[in-house]
Amino acid sequence: MVGARTQSEPPDTRADTTAPDDALLAVRAAEGDEDAFAVLVQRHAAALIRLATSLLGTGAEAEDAVQDAFLSAWRRLPEFQGRSSFGTWMYRIVTNRCLSVLRARKPVAPLEAAGDVPAAEHATSPARITEGRDAVRELREALDLLSAEQRACWVLRELDGRSYEFVADAVGISQEAVRARVFRARRRLTQALGAWR
C-alpha cells in the first residue's frame, strides 16, 4: 500500500515544511486558537516594527502601534477571509494605525497652510543637497513637515520600496492619489533639504 510507512521517506531539508503556513494559522486563530496567533505574531512582528518605525520615526511609538494592530487583528480575524495574505493584511492595519497616530500628532505644517513655497528659489538651481549624517538627520526632521498622508505614502514608496499599486491598497486610496502625495512629499523634501543649506 502506498502510504504504509511514511517515516521511511528521506527528511525534507527545506526550511518551512514543518511549520504550518500563515493561512492555516490564521484560520485557527480566527476560531480562537491563541497559540496559532502567537506564532503569527512572532513571524511578523519584526517586519511590522520596521514598517511602523519608518512611518512614525520613533521606536517606542512603533511598538505601541504594532501592538494595537495585532490586538485589532485578533478581534477582526473572524472577518479576515484570506483574500490577501495575513502579512499583507497586517501591513494594511499597521499602516492605517500609524496614519491615525500621525494625524493626531501634529498640527498642519506651515507649508500646507500657506500654500506653495514661492517658486523663485527653483528658477535657479538650489544649493546641492549632500549626503552624510547631517543630511539624514535633516531628512528625518523634514519628514515632520509632511502631512500624515504624504508621509505615509512617501515612506512606503521610498523607504519600503513598494509599488504605487501596493501603497494604494495599503492606504486605501487610488494610485493617482498616491502619486500625487508622493510628488508633493518629494517637492517639500527637496525644498526643505535644499533650503537649509
Binding site: 485557527r28 531628512l139 527637496t190
Partner: protein
C-alpha cells in the same frame, strides 16, 4: 514653445507642480526620471536636469536613512509578543458553548477550547496539519430534531504520498478518542476534509506536540 495643454490633461495635475522654463512640468520630468524614460530633451535640457538633480540628491540622502534604519534589523520580538499574548489570552471572543456529557447535565465547554484539543489530537498523526475545526451543535442548528449530539468538521493538510482514506481514518479515530477520553464531548460524527497536500517529511518534529 510651451506645451501647456498636454500636461494639464495628464492624469495627475498637482497643486504643487511647477512649470519649468523649458515648458515641462516638474512632475513630468520627475516621472520620466523615475521610469527611466529615454528622452533627448531630458538629457539635454538644463532645467530638467536641475529638477532631476534635486530628486537624485534626495534619493542619496534616503539611501543614507535606509542604511541607518537597517542597523535595527536584529529585533527581538519576544517581549512584544508576550505583551500582546497577555492581552489576547485574557480576552475571550464570543463563542458558543458545547455540551459536556449529556445536555441535561448543564456542563459546557467553549467551542474554541474543544477545537484546540481536537486539532492537537489530529496532529498526532504524522504529517498532518489541522486547520479549521468547527463543532456543530445539532440541536441548536436544528438540522435534525432527533439528534442530540453534535459533530465535528475538521479540515486538514495531509502529507503527499500517503493513502488518504487510511490517513483520514486514523485522524478520525484520534479525534473520536480525544473527544471522549480527554474532553467528554459526545460526538455524532467526525467529518474530515483534506484541504491541501503538503510536501515534506511526515515525521516532523511537531508530532504529538503540546501547546
Amino acid at each position: 514653445m510651451t506645451d501647456r495643454t498636454d500636461p494639464s490633461n495628464s492624469a495627475f495635475t498637482h497643486a504643487d507642480d511647477e512649470l519649468l522654463p523649458c515648458g515641462r512640468l516638474v512632475s513630468r520630468t520627475w516621472d520620466d526620471w523615475e521610469q527611466q524614460t529615454d528622452d533627448a530633451h531630458l538629457r539635454s535640457c538644463p532645467h530638467c536636469r536641475d529638477a532631476v538633480r534635486g530628486l537624485d540628491d534626495l534619493e542619496s540622502v534616503v539611501r543614507g536613512l535606509r542604511a541607518e534604519s537597517a542597523d535595527t534589523s536584529a529585533y527581538d520580538a519576544e517581549p512584544l509578543t508576550r505583551r500582546i499574548m497577555d492581552v489576547v489570552r485574557l480576552e475571550l471572543r464570543p463563542g458558543r458553548p458545547l455540551p459536556l456529557g449529556e445536555p441535561a447535565e448543564d456542563l459546557w465547554i467553549m467551542e474554541a477550547v474543544a477545537a484546540r484539543a481536537l486539532r492537537a489530537a489530529a496532529e498526532t498523526v504524522a504529517g498532518v496539519r489541522a486547520g479549521s475545526c468547527r463543532l456543530v451543535d445539532a440541536r441548536v442548528d436544528g438540522t435534525d430534531g432527533t439528534c442530540d449530539s453534535g459533530g465535528v468538521r475538521l479540515d486538514i493538510h495531509a502529507p503527499v504520498g500517503v493513502s488518504l482514506p487510511e490517513l483520514t481514518d486514523r485522524v478520525r479515530a484520534r479525534v473520536w478518542e480525544a473527544a471522549d477520553r480527554e474532553l467528554g464531548v459526545v460526538l455524532a460524527s467526525v467529518d474530515i476534509r483534506v484541504t491541501d497536500l503538503v510536501a515534506g517529511t511526515a515525521d516532523d518534529g511537531q508530532e504529538g506536540r503540546t501547546p
